[in-house]
Symmetry: C2
């Protein structure tokens, strides 16, 4: 339903609304039922997507009901009078989904009201010195100048980011105090009442926001950045099989339709994550220490990791174009590069997953290093393969798609390296916990993970994992974080080579 | 300066502020002067970036001063009483940079106030039936339920997009009316006063916003999408020379540092344009017809073009990585693909520029079609070159970077084709003006533009342009839109082959 601006449009809107109501009344009961079921399903969907939304809605209801108690209890009402309205207003406007946003808006509101109130009283005093005729002129002029200057300041990026709401409230309060001061004599009392009700409203919001199922912007940011990494990782882990399993004749008819493979689409949300990340960083900076995050957690560093994630996602987007491309390189060439490309993609995917996991668990991401190394080795392998490759039956045109995939993957390996570095940096800045082999609660940590090739023979490479102590049983060696490893260990025969090095035949 | 949340933080903040003031007072006059100059420079910079910002600030000042007249004129004040405050509040909160945002917020505010006011009065009536004890319970419960339900509705994307502010005002007004109704007896009068002052405030905003140098979100959106195309075009036009002029030994030491070539960086802003475009579309849909845009201009179609622009920008980002790459293909191979690659890039760039221009001038983008065709021809040339190419001295590894560039450019040609289609679609939907050769105001329009190759000889291809009528003078033939063409015509000897076909020797 559109609400237009011209009067014609409004008439049309009214007409449409009326038609809609009539149609609703004349609907057969079944259709009406179907409509209601549809709406209810949508509500359940939105709620299931993020159950914290339901809780947030209830929290707003609670905060508002608490504040309206001011009206119901006579002693409080007598103290504040009509200014109690400002508490209600504050709750409605200030209460946001995350604690950081609520705190930021609340503090902005309180400090801006304080500052603007003081200035407004000052302007009023100054104006009263100018006599009965000069007063409105001085007041009007000061309102005009302050409003214009403050509005202009909102265009400065740094003010826009953190103090935008404060500036709005500053203009609002200054205008109200200076202008209403022209009539209301008890201006100081008014300002005091208004400020204290705003503080009551703000405190109610902040208290409810923090103490009833808090939603921390910092935590959301932390998880979002880790999840974005994982989304890219999922694509990369699946890419090798997806790309090389298609014969050149498959063309654009993959066996399984793409919408049944969500891992090939999940990364797309990373491409446009910048705005959300930036606002979460701004909110997070208002938040006190919570959970595993200290007060001055290096939130700004997440922007750097986010940028690198997006760079990687841009490359993945180009790679995705290659899956969809109708032209596929001939199988002779594909076979040559398949091993190295699949390895690069897989190892990068694993490294990114490990980084995401390390972030989620807030531990040093050392385990990603050997995976990045493996990816680099695969890139070297590819280079070696290409250096010695010669073309038999196929021309340069035919191998172009394969060559593009290979070189995009090399770029992705570089990008993964950069992401690994930046997560290491974050881990140092934020003092993530170190992997301590002597302090393993139940299961020993995985210290190292990679592949080794047999010196002779055609066997495929073994997966090797190194753990600090020999485990009592086979399932003990699995780091619960490494699900794939768990599967391998339970399904595949293992040999224990040294006390703490386990080779799993792949 | 950060405003923290803990009390410790506030003390620190106060201490820091005091220190800052003291430092300011103790600054030598020169340093102080330098600081002020710095701030002034920044202000001038922000203002110069977009002079409409200065005008907007003044407009807010004007609207606010107008509304505060309610307080100064006794007859008006007597009519509205303290409710005049709501007019001031409305102006401060509703006045936004663009007309669309202001209108959207204003209409949301008025309709939400109306609806919530009516519901609030209803709730109050219902509660009063329940006796003295039941009244606060019924009112509290209805406030809680409505606030929770409305807050939840804000999570629905469609409501979030267009009616978010309306829902906030709905909760606000309902709480205020139903709760304050418990005390204030003249509830209908209160609601009426509040609504009329809000309408006065909203009308003031909308009037000032529309009639004093209006900033239309639709126009901004239109220009932004066109500009984004042009940014990509600038990169593509410059890419060929930039990439192929470097010898393989140049490595990462290009002759001119990259920051002196802004055309290589401009496209980066396109990558993250999604959020801005979406909000501009939402604002634009509130706007009445303005300038060359009708009321129901197909604003949503801009989202499609924007998405395609971004897809193209992702490919350009990958291409940019190739410029920066240390490894360059050997010159033997580079020479083979240089012509076709440069042509693809250049023609795509020209096509996108023409599309951007056609959008800006709101005319059918026919002139882009031959350019896209040229780009497609260049892609075919490349394929033909590669099909017959064989490698003499270089291995596959060495040619990889070149092959990647070539295949990315082929993708960019496809993408440009899609963008051209979508701009054609927009031109049809929005009834852009057709190129009318009989109605040429001063200079004849360019009807067709492309290159032709001489049948024999080693001459490079000629640029050919076709105009409806033979021009009187040479400068007359130039469509003022085609700057490059103007340069060519004034600098280079031209021959007139037929009455309306002009060939410019390149």
């Amino acid at each position: 339903m559109e609400i237009g601006s011209s009067s014609h449009e409004k008439v049309e809107l009214f007409g449409r609304g009326w038609w809609w109501l009539k149609a609703l009344a004349m609907q057969p009961a079944e259709k009406l039922k179907a409509m209601i079921v549809g709406v209810v399903q949508k509500i359940i969907e939105v709620g299931k997507d993020d159950p914290r939304r339901v809780i947030h809605s209830l929290k707003v209801g609670i905060a508002l009901t608490l504040v309206s108690l001011i009206y119901y209890f006579r002693p409080l009402y007598d103290g504040f009078g009509a200014a109690g309205m400002w508490a209600v207003l504050t709750v409605v406007v200030v209460f946001e989904f995350t604690v950081g946003a609520t705190l930021g808006k609340g503090l902005n509101r309180v400090f801006a009201t304080l500052l603007a109130g003081a200035l407004g009283v000052g302007a009023h005093q100054l104006a009263s010195l100018c006599g009965h005729k000069g007063e409105p002129i001085i007041l009007g002029l000061s309102t005009f100048l302050l409003a214009a200057a403050s509005t202009f300041s909102r265009f400065f990026p740094r003010i826009k980011q953190r103090y935008d709401y404060g500036v709005v409230i500053f203009i609002l309060t200054f205008s109200l105090v200076s202008v209403s001061g022209y009539r209301v004599d008890k201006i100081i009392e008014l300002a005091h009442q208004r400020l204290s009700t705003i503080i009551i409203g703000g405190l109610t919001c902040v208290t409810v926001s923090i103490f009833i199922c808090p939603v921390w912007a910092g935590e959301d940011l932390h998880h979002m950045v880790a999840q974005n990494m994982e989304k890219i990782a999922c694509f990369l882990e699946g890419f090798g099989e997806e790309y090389f399993s298609r014969s050149p004749e498959d063309g654009d008819n993959p066996v399984i339709p793409k919408n049944q493979k969500p891992f090939l689409e999940a990364y797309k949300s990373v491409l446009n994550s910048k705005a959300t990340e930036e606002s979460l960083v701004n909110f997070a900076r208002w938040e006190p220490g919570h959970g595993r995050f200290r007060f001055r957690h290096p939130w700004k560093h997440y922007l750097l990791i986010g940028t690198l994630n997006r760079q990687c996602a841009y490359l993945v987007e180009a790679l995705n174009g290659c899956i969809n491309s109708k032209i596929q390189a001939p199988s002779e060439f594909q076979n040559k590069i398949q091993k190295a490309c699949t390895d690069m993609s897989l190892e990068c995917g694993k490294a990114l997953k490990e980084l995401a996991l390390a972030m989620t668990e807030m531990r040093q991401p050392y385990l990603a290093d050997p995976l990045v190394e493996s990816a680099n080795n695969a890139a070297s392998d590819l280079k070696a393969t290409l250096k010695t490759a010669f073309l038999e039956n196929s021309d340069l045109l035919a191998i172009m798609p394969g060559a593009t995939v290979a070189s995009l993957l090399v770029e992705i390996v570089h990008c993964t390296e950069k992401i690994t570095e930046s997560v290491h940096e974050l881990a140092n800045l934020a003092h993530f916990k170190k992997l301590d082999p002597t302090n393993t609660p139940e299961k020993p940590h995985l210290l190292h993970r990679g592949t080794i090739k047999p010196v002779s023979g055609d066997e495929s490479p073994h997966v090797v994992i190194i753990i600090p102590d020999p485990p009592a049983t086979m399932t003990d060696i699995a780091n619960p974080t490494d699900h794939e490893c768990v599967n391998k260990i339970t399904n595949i025969q293992t040999t224990q080579e040294t006390q703490n090095c386990i080779i799993i035949k792949s």
